[in-house]
């Protein structure tokens, strides 16, 4: 038995060390390069608390680039972990926060706060507090509806379609809100909806960072029931898992992760659906002992990759994150769907 664990640990190290290294490289790159050219010396001075030659460097590096890089990593991690929880909870590898309408539900909550209750022009932490409350409420409602429908409809594909339809409902509610909102409110909502990791300031990070990290840490406590759920509800229950309590906790955790990211960065699509697959395919396991930490790291990697592409391919501007995530994600999902008969975790 010992050797089995060593083989698994070896494979995990071979996969995750390069991913971790690439993650660090991208993180550092996002500090040193951006839409404004700064000499490396100035960036270094700004980071180490010195006095850079260009006084704007401190502001740019510490208040913009550092929070943005942290936000990209944390958002990717949060969405990937949320996706994994949803996939295991619904026993459906094609589930994810965006495809099941959870992100759209969070968006609707944000739209209600931003458009209906005013505050479209507000900036800073107060603004995010409203968006955060709206997003958590919106995603919670969506998850409750999904839970209800998962008892009424048979078959995994049907539940996905229900999720997509619920997403459309939320979208149409958002459109109606937009129609009646002020021009100013609509403008800021549209910008928010494009998805961006740059909206988080240093002060916001003090809320955003701990919230994500604590929630991800809490998911690590769910590894045992998550593994039982791989066999489906009947088996899990027969092994002593209290089904409804476990499901509620898992949905709450994935809902909070999705909602926090959505409130701060907009509805970022696809990463939650795709990154658990990348983790499973590279580690060749569904065992959450290893899969959950690996998914978190791959998720952080994917967030930083999207951030790098949005900045370095932006030609002096910043491409919207949601223009990039489908380009990276859809080919992976296509690969998974086409090869599902050969992929071990579908069998």
């Amino acid at each position: 038995m010992c050797s089995v664990d060593q083989v698994a640990a070896g494979r995990m190290a071979r996969v995750l060390l390069p991913v971790g290294a690439a993650t660090v490289v991208m993180f550092v790159a996002l500090l040193f390069f951006g839409t404004v050219d700064l000499p490396a010396g100035d960036v270094w001075q700004a980071l180490t608390g010195g006095v850079p030659a260009n006084p704007a460097a401190s502001l740019i590096v510490v208040n913009l680039r550092l929070p943005m890089a942290c936000c990209a990593f944390l958002s990717g991690m949060a969405l990937a972990v949320a996706g994994l929880l949803l996939q295991t909870t619904f026993n459906n590898p094609l589930a994810g926060p965006s495809i099941l309408g959870v992100s759209t539900g969070a968006s609707l909550g944000v739209a209600v706060m931003m458009l209906l209750l005013g505050g479209g022009s507000a900036v800073g932490v107060a603004h995010y507090a409203g968006a955060l409350v709206g997003a958590v409420a919106g995603s919670a409602v969506m998850l409750l509806l999904l839970l209800l429908f998962s008892r009424l409809v048979r078959g995994n594909a049907m539940l996905l379609i229900v999720g997509i339809l619920l997403g459309y409902l939320a979208s149409s509610a958002i459109s109606i809100l937009n129609f009646y909102a002020t021009e100013e409110g609509v403008h800021s909502f549209v910008i928010w909806g494009l998805g961006s990791f740059s909206g988080v300031m240093l002060a916001d990070l003090a809320v955003f960072g701990p919230l994500i990290l604590l929630t991800v840490a809490a998911t690590l406590l769910m590894v045992k029931p998550l593994n039982a759920l791989l066999l489906g509800a009947d088996y899990a229950e027969s092994m002593g898992v209290s089904l409804s309590a476990t499901r509620n906790r898992l949905l709450l955790l994935s809902g909070v992760l999705t909602a926090v990211v959505t409130a701060f960065c907009g509805p970022v699509g696809f990463l939650g659906l795709v990154m658990p697959h990348v983790a499973r395919l590279t580690l060749a396991t569904s065992n959450h002992n290893r899969l959950l930490p690996a998914t978190a790291l791959w998720g952080g990697f994917s967030g930083l990759l999207c951030a790098c592409l949005s900045i370095f391919a932006g030609n002096g501007g910043v491409l919207p994150v949601n223009a990039i995530t489908p380009l990276l994600s859809v080919p992976v999902i296509m690969y998974v769907i086409v090869n599902r008969d050969k992929i071990s975790y579908f069998r």
Partner: protein, 259 residues
């Protein structure tokens, strides 16, 4: 020592207002293999769900190891009753050892870490079904018959006095079917388990079970007949299994044949 593992006393089973069966009293002891036979839609799974505590009886008492099912908390129940179900699980990317080790969950702590004893039990469970050489193989690479053995090993690792299997041979070829039935019969005998399974395989059930539970439709309602294979053949109770269908039971063939 009292060998009774499962006791049903005047139980009514079903969903909604009208019970599928009423007044059911049954008893299963250590070392017994009981096969539940009945036509499709007769309610075999419903009865098994009641026995495993998934479905509360509408009336009456279901007792496992001398305690009423309704009073046993989930984790303790998981140390008394294990299941093998027909559901297609998404366990393909686990190794055989990992899947069997899931059976230890009711015995392990909060994080599910396996002790030396847990690992021994997992090893013994794999050996008991003849899959010890497959410990490191991915479940997805197994044949249907091998996979079913692994699912049985998982239930064994749970170390429960009662094991309940819902059509464990349904999707297997003849060889795997017989092999699985012989395995279950041996586990009941040698490990002293009480094993209850539902099946459509009348021949194997008659040869290997100590007792049969027959669900027959008398026309006015379902009844559950409990007896040894011999007594049920003699009393012609098997004949009522498929009332009104163009088949009859043949004693020579030990199976149903066209009539």
């Amino acid at each position: 020592m009292n060998d009774t593992v499962l006791r049903l006393e005047d139980v009514a089973v079903g969903y909604g207002s009208a019970p599928l069966y009423d007044g059911v009293s049954l008893r299963v002891s250590r070392g017994e293999l009981v096969t539940l036979l009945g036509a499709n839609g007769a309610g075999k799974s419903t009865l098994l769900r009641c026995v495993t505590g998934r479905l509360a009886p509408m009336r009456g008492l279901v007792e496992v190891a001398g305690r009423s099912l309704s009073e046993i908390p989930p984790r303790e129940l998981a140390r008394l009753v294990s299941i093998v179900s027909t559901g297609r699980e998404l366990a393909g990317a686990l190794t055989v050892a990992e899947l069997v080790a899931l059976g230890r969950q009711p015995h392990t702590g909060f994080f599910g870490r396996l002790s030396r004893h847990d690992r021994e039990v997992v090893g013994l469970a794999m050996a008991a079904v003849g899959m010890e050489g497959f410990a490191q193989r991915q479940v997805a690479s197994l044949s249907d018959g091998e996979r079913q053995k692994v699912m049985i090993a998982r239930a064994l690792a749970q170390e429960t006095p009662l094991m309940v299997l819902d059509e464990p041979t349904a999707f297997l070829d003849v060889a795997s079917r017989l092999e699985t039935m012989q395995l279950l019969s041996r586990l009941a005998r040698e490990e002293g388990k009480a094993v209850i399974l539902s099946s459509h395989d009348v021949g194997s059930a008659l040869r290997l079970s100590q007792r049969l539970w027959l669900i027959s439709d008398s026309g006015v309602g379902r009844t559950l007949v409990d007896g040894s294979p011999d007594s049920l053949i003699k009393s012609d109770a098997l004949g009522s299994l498929f009332r009104g269908r163009p088949v009859r039971f043949s004693e020579e063939a030990m199976d149903f044949i066209p009539s």
